[in-house]
C-alpha cells in the first residue's frame, strides 16, 4: 500500500456528517472537482461521493412473511396477484422473484410476448400501497391444518417485506448489437438485424461500482440508497468477480463486480422500484440504487473522478454469439461515445440507446447527497469488503 497524503476514516467522516460539516458531491460533480484541484486537494475537500443507477435488475425479489392465519397454515404454494412466489421455506414465508410471470401469461407463445405483469410489478404494487390478492395452499398438518387461504392485502398487512436482491448494480455491462439477419427481442432490448442499433445499460460515470473499482469501501454492511429508501449491501452478488480485464485506471472493461442487497420495502418508493415488461423476454424490476463512496485518500479521489470518456463497454453480438454461450468482445466503446447517440462500428455509424435511466441516476445521487448533508444518513463501514484484486496504483500519485 502506498503512503497517502490524505488519510480519512469512516468514523471521521461520520463525525462530520453528525456535525453537519461533511462535504458531499455527486460522482458527476467529482470529475470537475478533481480536474480543477487535483486528486490530493480533492481528497482533502470532499468527504463523500454519491453515485446512482436506475436500470433493469432481473436478479431481484422480495422475501415476504404474510403473517399466520387462523387456523394456522403451512403454505406450500403461494400466489400474489396470480404470480407465484416460492414457498418452500417456513410456514408463511415466501420469496417472489422479479422475473416470475403471471400464471396465465401467454409468455412467448405468440412471439414476441408482452409480459405485462409479473413479480416485479407485484413488488411495485406493494410498495405503491396498492392491494394485492394473496392465494396460498397447504397440504395440512397437525400443527398447520389450514389448506387454503385467499385474501386481499396491502404492504402494511404483511408482517415482513424485505427486498432481497441476489445480484444488483453490475459494475459495467455489455453494449449489445445484433449481427444476425432478423430482429431479436432480448433483455438488452430490441436489436435490429445487421447491427442497425446498439443498446447499453449502465449509468457510466455515476454508476456505483465504477466509482470504487476495487471495492475498497464497499461490502457487507455498506448503507445505500435502495428503491427510494435505505438498504444495505450484504456481500458480493452472484457472478461477482474482480478478475476482469481492466484499463490503466483500474476500471473494469466488462461485467465484473456485483452486489447483493437488502432493505425494508415499507420505507421504499414505487418511483424507484418499477415493474418492467421486456417484449419477447419477460418481466423484471427496475431498481434505483445509490452507494455513497467515502473519499478516504487521494486514490479514492482518483477513482471517484472517473468520467465517461475513461470507461469502456465491450461490444457483444446478441444475435449469433451470446445465445450460444459465446460473446466474444468485438470491440470497445467509451460511455461518452455511447451517450452521444451513435457509435462507429464496423465502418459505419450505429444508433445507440440506454436501457438505464441516467436522469434517474442523477436524481438518486442528488437524493443521497441531501440525506448525507442533512445528517440523516451515516456511512456504513463494511465488516468485510467484496473480493478484490491488487492495483498497481496511479503513476501520478506515487
Amino acid at each position: 500500500m502506498p503512503d497517502f497524503k490524505v488519510n480519512k476514516t469512516f468514523e471521521e467522516i461520520n463525525e462530520k456528517i453528525k456535525k453537519g460539516t461533511v462535504v458531499v458531491v455527486t460522482a458527476e460533480q467529482m470529475i470537475g472537482v478533481t480536474r480543477e484541484h487535483g486528486p490530493i486537494e480533492a481528497a482533502r475537500k470532499v468527504d463523500v461521493v454519491t453515485t446512482g443507477t436506475f436500470g433493469i435488475m432481473c436478479s431481484s425479489g422480495a422475501l415476504l412473511n404474510f403473517g399466520h392465519t387462523n387456523p394456522r397454515m403451512k403454505a406450500s404454494k403461494v400466489y400474489l396477484n396470480d404470480v407465484e412466489a416460492y414457498a418452500g421455506i417456513a410456514a408463511v414465508d415466501c420469496y417472489i422473484g422479479a422475473t416470475q410471470t403471471r400464471e396465465d401469461d401467454p409468455q412467448n407463445k405468440v412471439f414476441p410476448g408482452r409480459f405485462r405483469y409479473g413479480g416485479g410489478h407485484v413488488i411495485e404494487d406493494l410498495v405503491a400501497g396498492k392491494p394485492v390478492t394473496l392465494k396460498a395452499y397447504g397440504y395440512g398438518t397437525d400443527c398447520y391444518p389450514n389448506r387454503e387461504v385467499e385474501k386481499t392485502m396491502t404492504i402494511h398487512d404483511f408482517r415482513d417485506t424485505l427486498l432481497l436482491n441476489p445480484r444488483n448494480a453490475y459494475q459495467n455491462y455489455n453494449c449489445a448489437i445484433n449481427n444476425s439477419k432478423k430482429t431479436i427481442y432480448t433483455y438488452m432490448g430490441i436489436l435490429r438485424p445487421d447491427c442497425m442499433n446498439a443498446n447499453y445499460s449502465t449509468s457510466g460515470q455515476l454508476s456505483p461500482l465504477l466509482n470504487d473499482p476495487f471495492y475498497r469501501t464497499i461490502g457487507l454492511g455498506t448503507r445505500i440508497f435502495l428503491g427510494g429508501g435505505v438498504g444495505y449491501v450484504i456481500g458480493a452478488g452472484t457472478q461477482h468477480t474482480a478478475h476482469s480485464k481492466r484499463s490503466e485506471n483500474g476500471v473494469v472493461m466488462g461485467g465484473s463486480g456485483t452486489i447483493a442487497v437488502q432493505g425494508d420495502m415499507k420505507q421504499m418508493s414505487a418511483r424507484f422500484l418499477r415493474g418492467a415488461s421486456i417484449t419477447g423476454y419477460g418481466c423484471s424490476l427496475n431498481v434505483g440504487l445509490g452507494i455513497p463512496v467515502p473519499v478516504l485518500n487521494e486514490e479514492m479521489a482518483m477513482f471517484t473522478a472517473v468520467s465517461d470518456e475513461e470507461i469502456f463497454a465491450p461490444i457483444v453480438d446478441y444475435g449469433l454469439e451470446y445465445p450460444q454461450d459465446g460473446g466474444s468482445v468485438l470491440g470497445y466503446v467509451t460511455y461518452s461515445q455511447l451517450r452521444s447517440g451513435e457509435i462507429d462500428f464496423a465502418g459505419r455509424k450505429i444508433a445507440t440507446a440506454s436501457l438505464s435511466s441516467y436522469s434517474a441516476a442523477i436524481e438518486i445521487a442528488n437524493t443521497l447527497k441531501d440525506w448525507i448533508s442533512s445528517g440523516k444518513f451515516l456511512l456504513g463501514k463494511p465488516v468485510e469488503t467484496l473480493p478484490s484484486m491488487d492495483f498497481k496504483g496511479f503513476p501520478n500519485l506515487s
Binding site: 436506475f54 436500470g55 433493469i56 414476441p112 405485462r116 432490448g189 430490441i190 435490429r192 442499433n197 446498439a198 443498446n199 418499477r274 415493474g275 418492467a276 415488461s277 421486456i278 417484449t279 423484471s284 427496475n286 451517450r339 447517440g341 444508433a351 445507440t352 440507446a353 440506454s354 436501457l355 438505464s356 435511466s357 441516467y358 436522469s359 434517474a360 442523477i362
Partner: protein, 147 residues
C-alpha cells in the same frame, strides 16, 4: 413548408374512389404514404404525411372530409403517459424519425409528437407501457361504428 401527419379512414362506401391524387393535382400538396392497409370491401386506412403551407394543408384536409374521408391528426392519437416514463431511452434508438430523443444536460427523453409517424416501435420496446399509440387497423372498427 409545413408538415402534418394524418390518419385517413376510408369507409366501405368511398374506399374505391380515387381521392388522394387530387391533393397533389388540385392543391399542390406533397404527400408521403407512411403506412397503408386495405381490408377489401370493408375499410381502408392510410397514414399520410402532408407537406405544404399550413392553410393549403387545411384546405386539403377539408377537401378530404368533404369527400367523406375521416381525417384524424396523428399528433392527437399518440401520446406518452408522463408518469410511466422513467427516461431510460430504450425507445430512442428505434425511433425512425427522431421524435424521441435524449436532451442534455439532464438527459431526459423528449417526445415531439408532430414528428411521430405511429410506427409503434416505442410502444413495443417501452418496459413501462409509457408510449400510447394507435394500431393502424382496429379489426373491430366497423362493429364499433355501428354500435
Amino acid at each position: 413548408m409545413n408538415s402534418k401527419n394524418v390518419l385517413l379512414i376510408f369507409k366501405s362506401n368511398i374506399m374505391y374512389k380515387p381521392v388522394i391524387y387530387r391533393l397533389a393535382k388540385d392543391f399542390d400538396l406533397v404527400f408521403n404514404i407512411l403506412e397503408a392497409k386495405i381490408l377489401p370491401r370493408r375499410e381502408g386506412r392510410i397514414l399520410l404525411e402532408l407537406r405544404g403551407p399550413d392553410e393549403i394543408i387545411d384546405q386539403g384536409i377539408k377537401f378530404l372530409q368533404d369527400h367523406h374521408v375521416v381525417v384524424e391528426l396523428l399528433s392527437e392519437k399518440v401520446w406518452r403517459e408522463e408518469d410511466n416514463c422513467v427516461h431510460c431511452g430504450a425507445c430512442v434508438g428505434l425511433c425512425p424519425t427522431a421524435a424521441l430523443s435524449v436532451h442534455e444536460p439532464d438527459r431526459k427523453v423528449a417526445f415531439e409528437v408532430t414528428k411521430c409517424v405511429a410506427c409503434g416501435m416505442c410502444g413495443l420496446v417501452c418496459p413501462f407501457g409509457a408510449m400510447k399509440d394507435i394500431t393502424l387497423f382496429d379489426p373491430f372498427a366497423e362493429g364499433r361504428v355501428n354500435s
